[in-house]
């Protein structure tokens, strides 16, 4: 342990900590625009300056190790003036028209400027050139607003291992972006939007679908249905002043109805459908391998996360056969909304507009994939992020906090607790095993409260094994099999588990979620997401699951109904047509 003195207060910290960490431990907030939790500090923004007694100059606290006996001042005239000066310099280059910026009132630079009492542009002069890259379906980059903090670069390279963004050039002309001024659609960007979620300013944002959605709602000929992903209900409240981890499912439903959607449905319904299809697919693969002794691609990987799919298409095309052919719940929803539901409700599918609310930016890309039109139309028309939905609610004048709890419509509005936990890392795995284990043995998954603890939580790569015993006669070939499962979240961790698999480690089923923490930490979620907030959202999702009577996908009556009336059985011909897809080598 090391003892340092911050503003005369003694702070004990572990060796190797920085001054920034020590201050955080002492409950002192040091402003920063470039720091990324648990990542090697870049020292790029220089806002976190502090005074160290005996040092020649002020130091950046994020890159300076806290050494024994150091006397640090975080609040003095000198420190305040230095920080203000740095922010003034950043503002002098920043081509940000706050009034017309999508990040107005949600901007870390603006917040700091207000906090520091910056009331005029101290250094007028040349600002950065605005270069807009809106080449991709999900993200828009504006180089004029970029303050080169390099947070996006850190998440893209070090957390996601994608490497689309890097500092290019030097000095005033430097930019953060793909190689040689390329657009994002020309490079291996998976559209996860972690860059947009961590950008302190408006330099990277999601491509808005709000206007299209308003237009559809206001068109009397259109029948607009909305689906909401499980992760939204655990995070939307943050946009309306609720504590992270507050569940707002009922209010969200009421708000959607007030916005004018004709039907409010739940992506949880198709999450349950995914489990039926994907679980059956896994059991079929195992049967082929164990009984028919066929060559079959194992382990099976989950396919719910479109960023992960694009990542595999770019970086690991040789494992595409291992990825479940199931579409993601969002796309399954679109496909059945414009077929099964259209028929049931007597609406012409060409008049149906399917809007998704997703914690994700990659879903905007996914809905525009050309193969996602098995209903005969584009299955999902528009995707709103959690942040966009909050903006629409605010635009409409709805007092979110005063809303009564609403209930989703039927027949695509009910979901089991297993569907809720799709939002958390480890959740799809747990949901799949709740159903698969019961199909095979006739008994409930033998774990406390149905939670598969070893695959829950924020550790990057998680593993578990489950011995299958007491199989029903039809599944006797699985008797005694030790089912080995792996879970990774964040694409850097996905890479680790794939490399482990290649090195010979045995798995039967692997869940990958693109974003750290799973969908609750998605690129479209309210800013700013830290591990503390991830954990709170994860807790809220588990509470939502535990509060339900219905906790297993195969017990969802609406799921039983759609198979009886429409799909017949998992992996049926019609299922294959509507609910399954294929992937493409993009390398």
């Amino acid at each position: 342990m090391t003892t340092v003195y911050i503003n005369k207060q003694a702070v004990e910290i572990s060796e190797g900590s920085t001054i920034f960490d020590a201050a955080a431990k002492a409950g002192i907030r040091i402003p920063t625009l470039c720091h990324v939790e648990n990542q090697f500090p870049k020292g790029a923004c220089r806002v976190c300056m502090v005074d160290v007694e005996g040092a020649r100059n002020m130091v950046a606290s994020c890159t300076t190790p806290a050494l024994e006996g150091m006397k640090i001042t975080t609040n003095s005239k000198n420190v305040r003036e230095a920080r203000k000066f740095v922010v003034e310099l950043l503002i002098s280059e920043h081509c940000g028209e706050c009034k017309t910026c999508v990040r107005n009132e949600d901007c870390e630079l603006q917040q700091l400027a207000t906090e520091m009492g910056i009331m005029e542009i101290a250094f007028p002069g040349e600002t950065l050139k605005t270069f807009i890259d809106d080449s991709t379906p999900a993200l828009v980059r504006d180089s004029g607003k970029c303050i080169k903090c390099r947070r996006c670069m850190t998440v893209c390279n070090e957390i996601q291992g994608v490497g689309s963004l890097f500092a290019q050039g030097r000095g005033f002309d430097s930019k953060i972006g793909p190689a040689f001024d390329q657009h994002l659609d020309g490079v291996m960007c998976v559209q996860c939007g972690q860059c947009a979620a961590i950008c302190p300013v408006g330099a990277i944002t999601e491509k808005e679908h709000i206007d299209f959605v308003w237009e559809a709602i206001e068109d009397p000929k259109k029948f607009v249905v909305v689906q909401t992903a499980p992760a939204i209900r655990a995070a939307l409240g943050e946009c309306f002043g609720y504590e992270p981890g507050t569940r707002v499912t009922g209010k969200m439903v009421s708000a959607l109805r007030l916005l004018g959607f004709d039907r409010v449905f739940d992506t949880n319904f198709t999450a349950d459908l995914t489990i039926m299809e994907e679980g059956t697919e896994l059991l079929t693969r195992l049967k082929k391998a164990l009984v028919d002794k066929q060559q079959v691609a194992l382990p099976q990987f989950t396919s719910c996360s479109p960023g992960w799919i694009k990542y595999a298409e770019y970086f690991y095309p040789e494992i595409l056969d291992n990825i479940s052919s199931c579409k993601s719940p969002q796309q399954m929803f679109g496909a059945v909304a414009k077929t099964y539901y259209a028929k049931k409700a007597g609406v012409d599918p060409k008049d149906i507009v399917v809007v998704s609310v997703m914690p994700c930016t990659a879903k905007k890309f996914e809905c525009q994939r050309p193969e996602m039109n098995d209903s005969g139309f584009q299955d999902v028309d528009y995707v709103l992020t959690t942040r966009e939905l909050a903006r629409m609610i605010k635009q409409s004048g709805i007092e979110f906090r005063n809303l009564e709890d609403g209930v989703m419509d039927s027949p695509m509005g009910s979901g089991s607790g297993a569907a809720d936990i799709f939002a958390n890392t480890g959740g799809v795995m747990e949901a799949a095993l709740r159903t698969a284990y019961q199909i095979v043995t006739g008994r409930e998954l033998p774990v406390a409260n149905l939670h598969l603890q070893p695959v829950a939580g924020l550790e990057g790569v998680k593993k578990a094994s489950l011995k299958i015993e007491g199989c029903l006669p039809a599944w006797s070939f699985l008797e005694g099999v030790e089912l080995k499962v792996g879970v990774a979240h964040g694409l850097g961790n996905a890479k680790k588990i794939i490399e482990a698999m290649r090195a010979g480690e045995e798995f039967h089923f692997i869940e990958i979620m693109t974003c750290p923490g799973g969908c609750i930490g998605g690129g479209g979620q309210p800013r700013f997401t830290t591990n503390e907030i991830r954990n709170k959202r994860i807790g809220a999702i588990y509470a939502e699951d535990e509060g339900k009577q219905l906790r297993k996908s195969h017990e969802n009556p609406e799921i039983i109904q759609i198979y009886e009336e429409f799909l017949k059985q998992p992996l049926s011909h019609l299922s294959h047509e509507l609910l399954h897809t294929k992937y493409f080598d993009r390398n």
């Binding site: 390279n157 963004l165 050039g169 040689f180």
Partner: protein, 193 residues
């Protein structure tokens, strides 16, 4: 030493994990071969690039030395070469491009037969280096870092050649010209075939 003998040694050193030796040998081989004055086929250059990158793959911080050697090999950094480097060193292409763009030494456009360097160090600057530079830009009709369409001349700026007594100084290839006047640049250029 003949090329097959070199290649034999490469394999030998590779077995011993003596990658640095291989790297130096590659540089040596590049220099030796570039002296035989014949036009080397592009394919041959890419083969050599692959050997260089392979020899450096496991060394941390290999990117900059590999880029230097590659530029020596091709005269500039072609996109295809950068893609190979990115793939083999397992560095994102954006990072390779970022490093190339950071250092003015690296160039992604082919250089002319002669590189014209105008010194803008303090002594040359105060004695009119800037005007000489302007005259050269006008005469060659290219900007700093540019190359003439006939690939004869490239124009660059230097920061002190260590010949301040001769200011302002211009270098063309490895020849030095002293006390250059803006009106005299045409004559200098004309003396190069």
């Amino acid at each position: 030493m003949s090329t097959p003998a070199f290649d034999y040694l490469f394999v030998f050193f590779e077995k011993l994990n003596l990658y640095h030796t291989i790297f130096i040998m590659t540089e040596l081989k590049t220099e030796m071969t570039s002296c035989n004055c014949g036009e080397i086929q592009e394919e041959e250059l890419y083969e050599r690039l692959k050997i260089i990158v392979k020899s450096q793959r496991t060394i941390p911080g290999a990117l900059i030395p590999v880029l230097q050697t590659t530029q020596n090999l091709f005269g500039y950094l072609p996109e295809k070469a950068l893609r190979i480097i990115s793939k083999e060193l397992k560095k994102p292409y954006s990072e390779v491009a970022g490093v190339v763009g950071f250092y003015s030494y690296f160039s992604t456009t082919p250089k002319g037969k002669y590189t014209v360097r105008v010194c803008l160090g303090t002594a040359c600057y105060v004695r009119g280096g800037q005007d000489v530079l302007k005259a050269l830009q006008k005469e060659l009709n290219i900007g700093i870092g540019g190359t003439t369409p006939d690939k004869k001349f490239s124009l660059e700026v230097g920061r002190c050649f260590g010949a301040c007594g001769l200011a302002p100084v211009v270098m063309v290839g490895d020849q030095t010209f002293q006390r250059v006047k803006p009106t005299g640049v045409g004559e200098i250029l004309n003396s190069f075939e």
